[in-house]
């Protein structure tokens, strides 16, 4: 695996640029963030029925994790997982990952068999591999003869030593399965090999279908390929298929292996007796593919998962097996703000899949980013092993000579039942002053907010609001008003305009309005004078009547009579109302004189005099209104 980071491009980028870049990244569709590709290939185009082939599916992407392929149902092959190989590279802070998923396929039928398209989806995008065609041929007879221990059960066309004896056996004895482990007790994460064998003493019309067992408190790892062979048990020759599985205990306590099953099609008549008179008929019937399906199950098995020995070192984090450990930074000279990769490699035998990264010591001089790992698994000689590399990006904060402290890794060796501790480092680094501040290195799940990956869309859920917004309700009520109601403001407006016009006219013709209002105001004055009289204040009543008469004459004549003589006033009235009778004018003259006398006399008016004046004025007012109307 090659891991390298170049910071050349980002050295001069300021905070603002990074921020803008992150903002722009947020608007890039998720599919572009997590683009990946897929390819699938087999190691051979043609395979014998008793052989197997490797199917490798490679998923490459630009994030630290890529999706796993979903294998479709394949009735024409038995499928066994053979591990994965991961390759991660980091260039300019961007991660490129390539994971090869390997499967072992054993064919079940002769002829052209198809491996259907395999899909891989990360939620946002989906890729599909093309269909692969594999030619499955009969097992070579020579190969069978040369390698009797490596033949498929179907190919073992019953070389039984005693066909009559075989035919006489019970059907359940013709097919059976066994399951056994190489250990009865193991530590957590210590490998235990489970061997499941399927024996048959009768020819099968097709390769059997294997249903693996389920496990409790155990993790399993396939150990392909399937081995085939022949053996004699109690005088009966059996062909067998052997499937091995590596198991790892999860935690202290009991673990169990449930039965495995095989569905096999056998010839309905059982074994063919060559001495049978119907041998040829049975033989051709067998070749024509007729048969019945039988299910065979293995025994269950139990395992004891032992407690870990005491005295585990501080660096122990559950690794069991036999490992070597190394660590190395990818450079020793660096500038502040630049990134270096610290790779911790663990190689050896053990369950590397569950192996955790060794704990890094405190490094206050460095920014420590997420750790990514790559894994290569080997299954040589049925032992799980390989190499796991944990890569951590470190960015020195300050210049000077800086040290990555010693890193420890401890594991339990089950062979010696003792803990072993390995260490690497310390590593001295020369850190120079960088051009800028530390840049951000972003992995898929670190350094920035995780992106939301839309998977599908749907309508929003029902609302629990019980009523319409008030604006809607109010608007509904207002708009529901009858249209004719809207004529009211028009009426009001027209009325206002008329009133305004009237007011304007009045302002322009004040005397006309005074003339019209004169009678009303004089009557109001009469009422006021009567009120004063009633209260025994005749002098005030006489004064009111005097002022009222002058005001009335002013309103009617249009001249301010208080500044005129009586004679002049009467002349003006005569000019304005030529049709008014003499008695009316004499009445004015008479009342004006009496009121003036009372108004200006030192003693004032008596109650009787004032009352008399009130009655006279009332009568005169009625007369004058009548006379003044004669004007025109």
């Amino acid at each position: 695996m090659n891991i390298s980071i170049s910071n050349i491009f980002f050295r001069d980028i300021g905070r603002l640029t990074i921020f803008i870049a992150l903002c722009l990244c947020a608007f890039i569709p998720p599919s572009l963030h997590a683009a990946f590709s897929i390819s699938a290939e087999t190691d051979k185009q043609s395979v014998e029925i008793n052989d197997s082939l490797y199917l490798t599916i490679t998923v490459s992407g630009d994030s630290s994790s890529v999706p796993e392929p979903a294998l479709p149902q394949m009735n024409n092959f038995n499928i066994y997982s053979s591990g994965r190989s991961q390759n991660i590279s980091i260039i300019n802070g961007k991660i490129a990952t390539s994971v090869a998923f390997t499967y072992i396929l054993t064919p079940r039928f002769i002829g052209k068999q198809k491996i259907p398209p395999i899909s891989v989806s990360n939620g946002a995008e989906k890729h599909i591999t093309p269909e692969i065609e594999v030619n499955v041929v009969k097992a070579a007879a020579a190969a069978q003869a040369a390698q009797p221990q490596n033949t498929a059960p179907r190919a073992q066309a019953a070389r039984q030593p005693s066909a009559r004896a075989q035919a006489a056996r019970q059907p359940e004895e013709m097919l059976f399965m066994t399951a056994e482990t190489d250990k009865k007790a193991a530590y957590p994460n210590e490998q235990v090999n489970l061997t499941i064998r399927f024996y048959t003493a009768v020819p099968l019309t097709s390769n059997p279908q294997y249903v693996p067992p389920t496990f409790k408190n155990l993790i399993s790892e396939d150990l392909p390929p399937v081995k085939n062979g022949e053996t004699v048990i109690k005088g009966v020759r059996y062909t067998y298929s052997e499937i091995k599985t590596a198991l790892f205990g999860i935690e202290e306590g009991q673990a169990s292996i449930n039965p495995a099953s095989v569905f096999a099609q056998i010839h309905q008549g059982g074994a063919i007796d060559p001495f049978d008179p119907n041998f040829f008929q049975q033989f051709f019937a067998m070749n024509s593919g007729q048969g019945e399906t039988r299910q065979v199950t293995s025994n269950s098995a139990a395992l004891k998962i032992l407690p870990l020995p005491e005295g585990a070192p501080a660096a122990f984090n559950g690794a069991v097996g036999n490992f070597t450990f190394s660590a190395e930074p990818d450079r020793r000279e660096i500038k502040t703000g630049e990134a270096l990769n610290l790779s911790l490699a663990i190689t050896g035998k053990g369950n590397l899949k569950t192996l955790l990264a060794p704990k890094l010591p405190d490094m206050p001089d460095f920014k420590v980013y997420d750790t990514v790992n790559s894994l290569n698994i080997s299954k040589d000689n049925d032992i799980i092993g390989g190499k796991k590399v944990f890569t951590t990006v470190l960015i020195p904060k300050t210049e000077g000579r800086r040290t990555i402290p010693r890193i420890n890794f401890a594991f339990l060796d089950p062979a010696t039942k003792t803990y072993k501790e390995l260490s690497a480092g310390p590593f001295e680094l020369t850190v120079e002053k960088g051009d800028g501040e530390g840049q951000n290195v972003s992995f898929a799940h670190g350094g920035q907010a995780a992106l939301i990956t839309p998977i599908s869309s749907d309508i929003r859920y029902v609302s629990d609001k019980t009523a319409a917004p008030l604006t809607g309700t109010a608007a509904g009520r207002i708009s529901a008003m009858p249209l004719w109601l809207n004529l009211f403001p028009v009426g009001a407006l027209l009325l206002s305009l008329w009133l305004a016009r009237l007011n304007d006219f009045r302002l322009k013709n004040p005397m006309l309005f005074r003339f019209r209002k004169a009678h009303g105001e004089a009557r109001a004055d009469l009422a006021g004078a009567a009120d004063k009289l009633k209260n025994g204040r005749p002098k005030e009543a006489a004064s009111i009547l005097y002022d009222s008469l002058l005001a009335y004459l002013y309103d009617k004549s249009g001249h301010k009579v208080s500044g005129l003589t009586m004679r002049r006033t009467l002349t003006l009235l005569k000019e304005k109302f030529p049709d008014a009778g003499e008695n009316a004018l004499n009445g004015i003259k008479d009342l004006w004189g009496k009121l003036e006398a009372l108004h200006f006399s030192p003693g004032g008016a008596t109650q009787e005099e004032a009352k008399d004046m009130l009655e006279t004025y009332t009568a005169l007012l009625a007369l004058l209104e009548k006379e003044f109307k004669k004007r025109g």
Partner: protein
């Protein structure tokens, strides 16, 4: 400057008042009744939930959420035509509700139709449908009354004329705006619109079975109702294709 500031404050006050009223909901039926229907919906009993929602909608013709929920139930029952019909009714009552907009857009997209016409900015479309038809009508009514009232005062009180001039102008502008906005909306997709509720609905050349079938309309298609006075048929227009005809009222629902 002061006058401008005062006018701005008045507008701000009006907006705050409007938004507050929008947020406040008028008290309606018991919440537990709705919760019961929503539980039915949650448990997949869409038909029973729908009956409840329709019951509420029948009682409260101005409640957009009853129509919205009914639209959801129809959508779940795989009746996109009726779903769009009810989402459309809800949208016309409360076009600012994000849930209603989203579901109507989703359902339209689901049936190959665009909620926002092609080439129209989404923000402009949002603004175009910011007020419901009723709200526009109510605004026009209120400001009609207000404008008449202010004009009356203006005519009667000479001393106040200077002060009233700005208010009258503002009221007049709002009134004119509401009027023109309503007029512009009359040609919109959801004005006098109907939704085809049955698949392969026949578009006839006249209001009767004896007339020739022009075309068949797919379910959920939005059409324009040109005339709904006939008892049995709608006269409809399909602007995009430029055709018109008659469909049975049982095959389409008016939004």
């Amino acid at each position: 400057m002061k006058t401008a500031l005062a006018a701005f404050m008045k507008i701000k006050l009006l907006i705050v008042l409007f938004l507050t009223l929008s947020a406040v909901t008028a008290g309606a039926y018991d919440r537990s009744v709705l919760a019961e229907y929503n539980d039915l919906y949650k448990n997949g009993n869409y038909q029973a939930a729908l009956e409840g929602y329709l019951e509420i909608a029948a009682k409260e013709s101005y409640n957009p959420y009853a129509f919205y929920n009914a639209g959801n139930a129809y959508f779940r029952m795989n009746k996109p035509g009726l779903a769009i019909l009810y989402y459309g009714k809800a949208f016309r009552l409360d076009p600012r509700d994000p849930d209603i907009r989203t579901n109507l857009e989703f359902a339209m997209k689901h049936t190959g139709q665009n909620f926002v016409p092609e080439g129209m900015p989404k923000a402009l479309h949002y603004l175009y449908y910011f007020f419901s038809d009723r709200e526009l009508k109510a605004v026009a009514t209120v400001f009609w009354w207000l404008a008449c009232l202010l004009l009356s005062i203006y005519a009667l009180k000479e001393a106040m004329r200077e002060k009233l001039r700005g208010s009258i102008l503002g009221a007049g502008l709002i009134l004119a705006g509401a009027f023109f906005w309503s007029a512009a909306r009359s040609s919109s997709l959801f004005s006098d619109a109907a939704v085809v509720t049955e698949n392969s609905t026949q578009l006839l050349s006249g209001p009767g079975e004896t007339f020739k079938t022009y075309a068949t309309l797919p379910e959920a298609r939005l059409v324009k109702v040109l005339d709904d006075t006939d008892d049995v048929y709608y006269e409809i227009g399909i602007p995009r294709e430029g055709i018109k005809g008659w469909v049975k009222k049982t095959s389409a629902g008016k939004i």
